[in-house]
């Protein structure tokens, strides 16, 4: 018997948002098919540094982040317990070297505190007292939230997909979507392996690949790719080093539960591409930046480096909205902080599918904001 090529909803893209949407929709009884061109988490999700934070400067992101942090502590068990999610809460420390950065951090923390997120501002003396191994020369202060942390981005995505399958979702990996299809302004499905798949609703969660896919039904998405790099070190004794970021030079580092360190650094000269690739320049730049703050790591070895694409929008905020093509909705354009919003993204996808009132007002994420010139910049992005 040949497989039926229809569904209530088709999801295009098996990153964390697609996989979480499949899970939430399947749990609600929706007949859902997810197509992923490679393996689950193979795009931006699995390449992410996978920080979980509530440090944002816009209220809606803080509200969604609070929900994420409510989900993460029990998520491994909720998704069946087969995948180790490596969730930790070793905190998020944003260090400042300039007045401009410190002022911005203070504004962000004020937003967070107004929503009962336990963020605080720290002096260099307090930073040194809590994390004596850090070199605080030149630091003028920091923002810190002890609830924030880390999760394994690859097992997170795969666990959502695996749990969705157990609930009846069809998750088709190594199955690229060639194009979306629409008729008379309404979405009709997608073409996969030369065959038409039909569904009255299609959710686009393909990160930067969303843009060329949307174009196949005449929809212009302002989402572009930007390559970002990371490195991972050998495992050393865990000492719960928090995620430490610096807006002034774009560098960050943290220890993950197995003892390895991740280092990353923004570089505006990196190619604007979805292709992964590596440069020696990254290794030199990021180690110079991070070793200034963590001199004791100089003797630790780099195991490998990798890169992945951010899906960047003009205001560094996601696009979560129904599009002018009836039945087609998007959750993409997270601009580098999307992994941690998987739980929120999945829940919103389910609520939007059923036309329910969303648990957080997501009007700010609408697609038309770009035409209207009503951007809402997220100040806390890196």
């Amino acid at each position: 018997m040949s497989e039926k090529k229809t569904a209530d909803a088709i999801i295009v893209g098996g990153g964390v948002h697609g996989a979480a949407a499949a899970y939430y929709l399947a749990k609600a009884g929706v007949d859902v098919v997810l197509f992923e061109k490679e393996y689950l988490s193979s795009g931006g999700s699995g390449r992410s540094a996978a920080g979980l934070r509530q440090h944002f400067g816009t209220e809606v992101n803080c509200r969604l982040a609070k929900y994420n942090l409510e989900c993460f502590p029990t998520l491994e068990a909720d998704l069946g317990g087969e995948f180790s999610l490596e969730f930790t809460q070793w905190g998020y420390l944003w260090v400042a070297y300039t007045d401009a950065s410190l002022t911005q951090l203070g504004k962000n923390v004020a937003v967070q505190q107004s929503l009962d997120i336990p963020s605080e501002m720290l002096t260099p003396q307090e930073i040194k007292r809590r994390w004596p191994y850090m070199n605080v020369d030149g630091m003028i202060g920091a923002a810190f939230c002890h609830q924030d942390g880390h999760i394994n981005p690859q097992t997170l995505t795969m666990a959502y997909g695996h749990a969705a399958m157990k609930l009846g979702a069809r998750v088709k990996t190594y199955t690229p979507v060639e194009k979306l299809t629409a008729q008379g302004g309404k979405i009709t499905g997608a073409v996969v392996n030369g065959e038409q798949w039909s569904a009255p609703r299609v959710l686009l969660t393909a990160g930067p690949w969303s843009t060329p896919l949307a174009a196949t039904v005449g929809l212009d998405l302002p989402v572009t790719a930007e390559r970002h790099n990371l490195l991972v070190t050998e495992q050393i004794e865990p000492f719960n080093c928090p995620m430490t970021l610096c807006l002034d030079d774009g560098a960050y580092f943290k220890q993950v539960p197995n003892g390895s360190f991740f280092f990353g650094r923004d570089d505006p000269d990196e190619p604007k591409t979805m292709e992964s690739g590596n440069s020696a320049k990254f290794l030199e730049g990021v180690t110079k930046s991070v070793l200034k703050r963590m001199p004791s790591l100089a003797g630790v070895r780099v195991v490998h480096q990798w890169s992945g694409p951010y899906d960047v929008t003009p205001d560094h905020q996601a696009i979560i909205d129904w599009t002018p093509v009836e039945g087609l909705w998007t959750n993409c354009g997270w601009s580098g902080h999307g992994l941690q919003f998987g739980p929120s993204g999945g829940r919103l996808a389910k609520e939007m599918f059923f036309g329910e009132k969303t648990f957080v007002d997501i009007r700010n994420f609408r697609l038309s904001r770009f035409e209207e010139g009503d951007l809402f910049e997220e100040p806390a992005f890196i």
């Binding site: 795969m158 695996h162 070793l291 100089a298 070895r301």
Partner: protein
């Protein structure tokens, strides 16, 4: 070889043959997937120890010749090098 015997396939992450077979049986039949689930190939040896064994298991399970299986991506640096060497181009004495 007895399946009951604890055979370590990936020494960096201490993953056994049983675990590899268990995840293949769950439907994860690509090296890239097993790598993300079990961290095989992500340790200091970068898959030099485990990859051939795992590809052979995948070949047996899927019936595809090893030459047709995607072996995952090998990433730089070729060998683990010290962070200090990347930053300063020389070894940094530790205090």
């Amino acid at each position: 070889m007895s399946d009951k015997q604890k055979v370590v396939v990936c020494r960096c992450e201490e993953i056994t043959l049983d675990e590899i077979r268990e995840w293949i049986a769950k439907g994860y039949t690509h090296f890239d997937e097993l790598k993300r689930i079990l961290r095989v190939g992500m340790g200091p040896c970068q898959g030099r120890g485990c990859k051939d064994i795992i590809l052979r298991e995948l070949s047996i399970a899927t019936g595809k010749p090893i030459a047709e299986l995607h072996p995952g991506t090998t990433r730089p640096p070729v060998k683990p090098i010290k962070l200090g060497l990347c930053a300063y181009g020389k070894e940094v004495p530790q205090k």
